[in-house]
Symmetry: C2
Subunit: 162 residues, 2 copies
């Protein structure tokens, strides 16, 4: 119904938080498809392209290397994932990946919270119920999936006999 709006590279950069240089770079390494050009050679972007760039930005935040993004960008376009079993595989595997990342991050939050609490109450020595400490912040019960291995640096701070 309405003419598809288009944006300059500068506008696109502003909207996505990705610099113009980087956008061109992504095009160069074919992470983005070659953008359409105006008669003067300037790139033009549509909403669709901006969405793609935002997806890249978001995946970047998950620490995914650019090369690994390629298949995701294929999905983001118009592929039906159900038709490509290995894509479904990929999606579910990365989903698992991210969930474990979230757990990692939550651990660091807990670590910080503990350090902050420690500063406030200033306990000296004496074993303290760490599980209890973790439990009492936030309303969420959540599975508490923190592995004992990764948990170990809590103990250093808990005793820190030095």
């Amino acid at each position: 119904m309405k003419e598809e709006q288009s944006y300059t590279i500068k506008q696109t950069a502003e909207q996505t938080g990705i610099t113009e240089d980087t956008i061109r770079y992504y095009e160069k390494i074919a992470l983005l498809p070659r953008a359409e050009r105006k008669d003067n050679g300037h790139r033009i972007y549509r909403q669709e392209d901006i969405n793609t760039i935002q997806l890249i930005a978001c995946l970047k935040k998950t620490g995914m290397p650019l090369e690994e993004m390629r298949p995701f960008l294929a999905v983001s376009a118009d592929t039906d994932p159900a038709e490509y079993p290995e894509l479904v595989e990929l999606l579910t595997s990365h989903r698992k990946n991210i969930l474990s990342q979230i757990a990692s991050l939550q651990q660091v939050v807990d670590f910080i919270d503990m350090k902050l609490e420690e500063g406030r109450y200033r306990w000296d020595c004496s074993d303290v119920d760490l599980d209890g400490l973790l439990e009492k912040r936030m309303g969420e019960p959540k599975p508490k999936s923190v592995s004992p291995v990764e948990m170990s640096y809590f103990s250093v701070s808990a005793k820190a006999g030095r």
Copy 2:
């Protein structure tokens, strides 16, 4: 009560998942304090050191650059954060940081879930209640902090008129 146990660099690498080379590298750039040496010059590590390395590994997972870790490692040792206001500042600010990272990650999970759902039910065109879709997975109500901007790539997939 019991003699403090010590580990070789190899054992330390195995326990932390960080390679020997990388551990030496961290020492070189003084991210880790110079490790004690045996008479033959070989490094020896204690549990405390292993904990520190594991904290580094964990922070790495949050995408933090090595340089930014330095203050955190100071905290992890035996500093009382409450005595260094700028450290408390730092901790709370990074805490905020991580929470927003978690939100980002959750978005990608939602994106993946949506794509997967889409494949299963195969809707054609027609606006679909995205909020409803997001809401119905997981038990957690959670604030649903996803910004409209970052949300935009959901719409591309939802209509994808192409």
